[in-house]
């Protein structure tokens, strides 16, 4: 009798435990249900901004590659791989190269994913849909712009990754990438209504258009977009130092927001400040940079200490220094450079340059030589945007990297990381 009783008890246990193994996720959302409403789409778009914050992207490496990888800075801390950037000898297996390749593609995939869901979303007006798409195309274009300036020829991917099929995409030439960038920006132009510099705006779209056109040497277009921005309500700040103490100021066009939340902060202050202030001093300014400033240049005041360090990112405790993606000053120098390249109006060129110089407490220049003016523009760019991730890109764009940095054209762009080469059958 007893054995039969147990038999049935056991069967009872068995049948009642089917749900035992069906557990629910507690900290993430099943992707089947993730983007269903407009609010979901907005959150997904913000995920694209979140991707820009990565340490290996705007949060550190764009600056490391451009500053340590140029004559502005050297590797002053304990990270051994940064020496390769300093020596212009970055190897394919450098971990940071992998990060610099990966993080923009993460951002691109988030953009592609959001575009996919936006196109299919019901209950969304055509206007609203286009505005969201404009924002996403702009962000995607920004990511491709950065990637191509770093690596030159890269895979062009316009569809989201939902499975591991068909992921082996070969390299596209840089001009193909730029075509896509311009096409994305053409759509985005004049569609975004927002004015908050933490997010994409029409001025941001136009700034990127100006920069891209400068890069591909379409100077007329570059000037056209710069004109538009320089006649908007954006204004240069009176004091240069205020750029780094006042967030969302009148000069800021597109600024990446960081907060003190552990998952939302950056380590730039930690990487720039010396060890005596609790930092790591990884990105250390070259003596030559500081010596190149003219005596009264207020921009030099952002470099402090007997052993100088950059103080643009100083919130080491909270890690919430914002990072400029675009600010107004750049457009002045961009327009001046474009005009100088087409032998444009000398006084207009000088005006733009002197706006920047005067703001920095320097006297105006009076040169009449285009080549001299281009030289001055190059120096002003260096001083205006030191430690903001511009120098190396600028020297390569103007074909001056060989003269200034001593690198050959083969070394202008970073090698495609080993991780991609090993896993992508279309790239070797």
């Amino acid at each position: 009798m007893k054995p039969t009783v147990i038999f049935f008890i056991l069967i009872f246990i068995l049948t009642s435990c089917k749900e035992l193994l069906d557990l629910e996720t507690t900290d993430s959302i099943n992707s089947e249900n993730a983007i269903e409403t407009e609010i979901d789409l907005q959150k997904a778009i913000r995920g694209c901004y979140d991707a820009l914050q990565a340490d290996n992207y705007y949060g550190r490496m764009l600056i490391v590659a451009n500053e340590i990888g140029s004559d502005n800075a050297y590797n002053g801390g304990t990270i051994l791989e940064f020496a390769q950037f300093n020596n212009n000898n970055v190897q394919e297996d450098n971990l940071y190269i992998e990060g610099m390749w990966f993080t923009p593609y993460v951002a691109i995939n988030r953009c592609n994913t959001s575009i996919y869901y936006a196109l299919r979303m019901k209950n969304l007006t055509e206007d609203k849909k286009n505005e969201y798409l404009a924002e996403l195309y702009f962000l995607r274009a920004l990511n491709y712009f950065n990637l191509s300036r770093l690596f030159k020829n890269i895979p062009l991917i316009l569809e989201p990754t939902f499975s591991d099929n068909n992921l082996n995409v070969g390299l596209s030439d840089q001009n193909v990438i730029f075509e896509q960038i311009l096409s994305d920006l053409a759509f985005a132009d004049n569609k975004i209504n927002n004015n908050d510099p933490y997010f994409a705006s029409d001025l941001a779209v136009k700034t990127l258009l100006a920069k891209v056109n400068l890069e591909i040497e379409d100077y007329i277009q570059a000037i056209k977009y710069a004109d538009h921005i320089l006649t908007s309500n954006k204004k240069l700040l009176d004091k240069y130092e205020s750029l780094f103490t006042i967030p969302k100021n009148t000069e800021s066009i597109f600024e990446l927001s960081y907060t003190e939340l552990l998952s939302d902060r950056n380590r730039l202050a930690e990487y720039c400040l010396p060890t005596s202030l609790g930092g790591r001093y990884e990105i250390a300014p070259e003596k030559s940079l500081l010596e190149s400033f003219e005596p009264n240049d207020t921009r030099k005041n952002l470099f402090l200490g007997e052993i100088p360090y950059c103080n643009k990112y100083s919130n080491i405790t909270s890690g919430d220094d914002n990072v400029y993606i675009f600010r107004l000053a750049e457009l002045y120098l961009l327009r001046a450079e474009a005009r100088a390249k087409i032998n444009g109006n000398l006084s207009l060129i000088r005006n733009d340059i002197n706006k920047i110089r005067n703001r920095a407490g320097l006297t105006s220049i009076y040169s009449n030589s285009y080549s001299e003016l281009l030289q001055i523009i190059e120096t002003e760019r260096r001083h205006e945007f030191a430690f903001e991730g511009h120098r190396r890109f600028d020297l390569i764009r103007t074909d001056r990297a060989t003269d200034i940095l001593g690198i050959s054209e083969n070394n202008y762009y970073f090698p495609i990381p080993l991780a991609e080469i090993n896993s992508n059958s279309e790239i070797d």
Binding site: T25, T78, D93, Y105, N109, Y198, S257, N424
Partner: protein, 1077 residues
């Protein structure tokens, strides 16, 4: 699928109970005779069976009048009951029952029912399969799995005999004992033989699978209340590495190599049938200073530990058996014994075993000047600065201290007839050799068993553990005391003139950190179970067990603004908690049957459910109101507050059939079906079968080598699994984040609904040999383990936005052998015993996705590639220093004239070729001397510390090795020139930093004395033992770092054998005593 199988199994068992294979069960007789001659009874029996009686009329009076009434009873029981009551002896030969002369006059006496339990004398382990019989008769039985027996004996018989191979026979007067306890002692001097195996006990003579077993006195030889440390070098097949000298730090344990790359390589730990958590719940990342589940367990209450190694032993644990299983059994009391009390105490001092020789202030300044000049600059320090400098800090000496370690424990054990108990409490306090670190742990335990009735036994094992660990940040930060004490230049003082800590140096002052950084782990743990054992029938028992492992883990850290790390944040505090509960409900049916005393069968089936839930919180705050307030309530900025939950569930069906013929031919079949919540419905259940056979050759009649006491050969094969991957990988998910104070979501992964278990197939051949009256005992095993469907991140083109997808790709194999040799060299007044363990394991990765290697892992830049062991060192090959330039020449492997990443190759392998231990124990009169050595051969170590302290660049102080650096053309040396810029990258990852880590350690030398005089007897002490001991006394090695057993990444699977400013181990000198009442 599951229901059908279980039903089938159950049917088989219940049917088995009624199977006819033996005469005593075959016939069901009914007799009803009133006052008739005995002859009629005989005829009746002959009629109802096909037996015939044979007897002599002169001996047996078949005319006498008897009455006998019985219904549906078996023949043998009738023969027992009736004939023996009349003192008529009978013998069954084929189909004849032969009756013999009765001893006394015919009179009916009721037979006695005797029952009891048979245990081993030395450790009270129940003994299954023991013969219980009356000498010269057929009356007898065999003890069950739990050692119990019942027998019906005629009243006239006085003596009962107990016998079992390997043990001395015991003859016992029955008297009036209804419930006897018998203790059998071994025939010859050897290690105890009853071994705990998966879901049961086994006599080691009859073991047919590959296990290593160790009993409590061997565990406690070095008196380390730390389980991994007390097992290292004593068992074959398990690789144990200390990793660092951190008090309470985690050890690495690997049974038969690494069988997984991502899904966990730790063995399954089980205490008294309850599986333990084996994770580290620290959320503040500490690398080599993390803890693991064995950290809380003390060796004091352990009776034995069995390591299950081959597929047959581990398959009963199914999906968690791939990495081997460690069964820990705690001590229990003995029935019918007086209370014994035991007190152990130990007090020792620890001293750092080895430090680095760093440059002094003058040498440091000179080297710095030289480096500056070599880079085209000017000297940093002037002549007068160098000569007049009076600051010369030896930071390491300032940081390390002589630290005490103490352990006290007290235990009570005893029992009445029905109940037994074992109670213990112990206290361990270990100060760290690094200032500001220490660890204490309190263990308490209650083990109770109660025989409620003949059929029902209940019991519990309950441990309550509390520990606190004061840690300091380790090697991965610029704020660790050990790294900074090694690397900080000697030109800075510890204190300023005003007594405050000097923090002018490039790294934070390590003494300041050690004394001001607060970092404490508070740990509370309950491990316990409740069980009932119910005898359904004579042969079938049901065991129900509920067990839990509960951990409450809390971390509290605070960096005041007066320390450099805290200054950065104006005070930094972190609080984390984890509450983890693992519950096991287990139902086991155990069936035992013997036939003709020749065939023994044991069948086990079971159903288990296991659930886990971990709830965690994490909080971080900065800007504290005052440096003396260390809790987050005083933090102005709360920069992080997270809470999250993880759950896991598993259900399993398990079964085993063990067959034993004549104790000579042994075989087992195991199977387990596991279902896990980690996998999608496609692959939720896994099936894991295995089997083994063994042959005790020495028991064969043809076996005539007298000097060989025992020879057993065995073979096994089977499949086990591994499921330790993160939850929910099989669905694609979006995660949450934030941007500009609004919430954001983003895709985390690409799903793989086909994810399934990693599967290991293992083959084992083994040999157990005893020679010369067991004075030489050898166990040898050879195995091959092949694991496939490794859960690996399959790299996908990174341009897709994801780096990888988790898939079952990849294969790895482990092939090796193990030898355990025990010899009793001298056995006279002086007794000398030796134990030697050697294990060897060759690991090889045999398949990866597209054979793409995975590289640059960790600070050792380790690599996984097909055809090599996991985690090899890979880099440039240094050919030495060029005497003309002072730079290192690297091998141009592809001969293309450039040195680039194509010139890298395998430069080292962190895994040892052989490892093991050698213990010698000498006893003379009351003295005993034990010398314990451990060795490892063939393991390489990547000394990543030297990449900083021998680099001659950057801010760090350098070792005195750099005094031999190249300084001018023509110098021949192996240290390159001093240069900060290092254009040749002399400092790159190369064979320059790979060293041979083979070692032989004098792990412990212990001298003890047993006091045995009137004084001791007067106090009623049964033992009074004093000892002195030295541990970690010396390491013979070519390794230049602090300890060749180092690993900065703790128990990590891939990052092994790398030193990076890791907390060094200590020498310990101690003394203590043991008192037993």
């Amino acid at each position: 699928m599951t229901l059908k199988h279980l039903t089938g199994l159950l049917i088989v068992i219940f049917w088995f109970n009624h199977i006819n294979l033996y005469a005593d069960n075959s016939d069901s007789l009914s007799i009803n005779i009133e006052n008739k001659p005995l002859k009629e009874l005989l005829s009746e029996i002959e009629k109802q069976t096909d037996f015939t009686f044979v007897y002599s009329n002169s001996e047996i009076d078949v005319g006498q009048t008897i009455s006998y009434n019985i219904i549906n009873e078996s023949l043998i029981n009738i023969l027992n009951e009736f004939f023996l009551a009349y003192n008529i002896q009978f013998q069954i030969i084929e189909k004849h029952i032969i009756l013999q002369k009765p001893e006394q006059g015919l009179s009916y006496q009721h037979p006695q029912k005797v029952s009891g339990i048979v245990k081993t004398k030395l450790d009270s382990f129940p003994m299954p399969g023991v013969n219980v019989f009356i000498e010269g008769t057929l009356i007898g039985t065999i003890t069950r799995e739990d050692g119990t027996f019942e027998l019906s004996i005629p009243a006239s018989y006085e003596n009962l005999t107990f016998s079992f191979i390997g043990y001395k026979n015991e003859e016992v007067k029955i008297a009036n004992n209804k419930n006897i306890q018998i203790f059998l002692s071994e025939e010859t001097k050897e290690i105890k033989e009853v071994v705990v195996v998966g879901y049961g006990l086994e006599n080691s003579i009859l073991l047919s699978s590959s296990v290593s077993n160790i009993k409590s006195d061997f565990i406690n030889i070095s008196f380390t209340p730390d389980v991994p440390a007390s097992l290292k070098g004593k068992l074959t097949g398990i690789y144990i590495n200390q990793n660092s000298g951190t008090p309470g730090g985690a050890n690495t344990l690997r049974i038969r190599g690494i069988s997984s790359i991502t899904a966990g390589a730790d063995p399954l730990y089980i205490i008294d049938g309850v599986p333990l958590f084996s994770r580290d719940f620290s959320q503040i990342y500490f690398n080599g200073q993390s803890v693991n589940s064995l950290t809380d367990i003390t060796t004091i209450d352990i009776e034995s530990i069995t390591i299950l190694k081959d597929a047959s032993a581990t398959a009963i644990y199914g999906a968690r058996g791939s990495n081997g299983v460690m069964l820990i059994t705690t001590k229990r009391g003995r029935n019918n014994s007086e209370t014994t009390l035991q007190f152990n105490s130990k007090y020792g001092v620890q001293q750092v075993a080895k430090t680095y020789n760093m440059l002094d202030a003058k040498e440091f300044m000179q080297y710095k000047n030289e480096a500056a000049i070599n880079d085209g600059g000017v000297p940093i320090y002037s002549e007068s600065e160098i000569n007049n400098n009076n600051i010369n800090t030896n930071w390491q000496n300032n940081l390390y201290q002589i630290a005490p370690i103490q352990n006290y424990d007290l235990s009570f054990s005893g029992g009445s007839q029905k109940t037994n108990y074992f109670l213990t409490a112990s206290y361990l306090q270990q100060d760290g050799i690094v200032q500001g670190t220490d660890y204490y742990r309190i263990n308490t335990r209650v083990n109770l068993d109660h025989q409620y009735s003949e059929k029902l036994k209940i019991g519990t094992s309950l441990a309550v553990i509390k520990s606190e660990n004061n840690r300091k940040e380790g090697d991965q930060s610029l704020n660790g005391p050990v790294p900074n004490a090694i690397a900080l230049p000697p030109t800075f003082p510890v204190y300023n003139e005003d007594g405050t800590y000097n923090d002018d140096g490039p790294l934070a002052n390590p003494i300041s950190i050690a004394n001001q950084h607060i970092n404490t782990v508070y740990n509370w743990r309950n491990i316990g179970n409740l069980y009932t054992d119910y005898k359904l029938t004579k042969n079938l028992a049901y065991k129900f067990k509920v067990g839990i492992d509960y951990i409450n883990f809390r971390e509290h850290t605070y960096d005041p603004p007066t320390a450099r790390q805290g200054a950065k944040y104006n005070g930094l505090g972190i609080e984390t908690t984890s509450e983890a509960l693992k519950t096991l409900v287990s139902n086991i049916l155990n069936f035992n049957k013997s036939f003709n005393n020749i065939h023994h069968i044991n069948i086990l089936t079971g159903y288990e459910i296991e659930k886990e839930k971990v709830s965690s919180t994490f909080m971080r705050g900065t800007s504290f109101a005052s440096e003396d307030l260390e809790y987050l309530i005083s933090a102005v900025e709360k920069v992080s507050a997270d809470a999250f939950v993880e759950e896991f569930a598993m259900n399993s069906f398990l079964g085993r059939i063990k067959y034993n013929m004549k104790n000579k031919y042994l075989g087992t079949i195991n199977a387990r079906v596991d279902g896990s919540s980690k996998f999608s419905k496609n692959n939720r259940y896994g099936f894991f079968p295995s089997g083994d056979i063994a042959w005790r050759v020495s028991e064969e009649d043809f076996f005539s080598f007298n000097f060989i006491n025992r020879l057993k050969i065995r073979a096994s094969y089977g499949i086990t699994g591994n499921d330790k991957i993160p939850n929910f990988l099989y669905i694609s998910r979006f995660g949450t984040s934030e941007y500009a104070n609004t919430s954001a979501i983003y895709p985390i992964n690409i799903s793989n609904p086909d994810l399934k278990w990693e599967t290991t197939r293992q083959m084992n051949l083994g040999l157990d040999l005893s020679l010369f009256r067991n004075r030489i005992q050898l166990t040898a095993d050879y195995y091959r383990k092949k694991t496939e469907d490794l859960l690996l991140e399959k790299p996908i083109p990174v341009s897709s936005g994801f780096e990888n997808i988790t898939a079952n790709i990849g294969k790895i194999e482990n092939i090796g052998f193990e030898i355990a040799l025990k010899t009793i060299n001298i056995d006279k007044k002086l007794i000398w015993e030796s134990h030697l363990n050697i294990s060897s394991n060759q690991n090889k990765v045999t398949q990866l996705h597209n054979n793409q290697p995975i590289e640059n892992i960790g600070r050792g830049y380790q690599r996984i590639e097909v055809g090599e062991p996991i985690g090899i060192f890979y880099g440039y090959n240094s050919l030495g220093v060029d005497p003309s330039t002072g730079d290192i020449v690297f091998e141009d492997i592809n001969n293309d004239g450039i040195i680039d990443i194509n010139d890298r190759k395998k430069i080292g392998d962190p895994h040892p070729d052989y490892y093991g231990g050698f213990l010698n124990s000498l006893s003379y009169k009351n003295f005993n001397l034990q010398i314990f050595l451990q060795f490892s051969y063939g393991n390489d170590v990547f000394n990543a510390t030297r990449r900083y302290i021998e680099s001659m660049k950057g801010i760090d102080n350098q070792t005195t090795d750099v005094l031999a650096r190249w300084q001018e053309p023509g110098d021949i040396t192996d240290i390159p020139r001093a240069t900060n810029a290092d254009p040749n990258e002399n400092n790159r990852v190369s064979s320059r930093f790979i060293e041979d880590g083979s070692y032989l350690k004098i792990k412990s030398i212990k001298l003890s004395y047993n006091i045995n005089n009137k004084f001791v007897h007067n106090l009623n002490l049964s033992e009074f033992n004093l000892f002195i001991m030295g541990q970690n006394l010396y390491t013979f090695t070519n390794y230049s770092g602090m300890d060749p057993e180092v690993n900065y990444a703790g128990a990590d699977i891939i990052r092994t054998g790398v030193e990076f400013f890791t907390y060094p181990p200590a020498k310990i000198y101690s003394a203590g005593l043991t008192i037993k009442f």
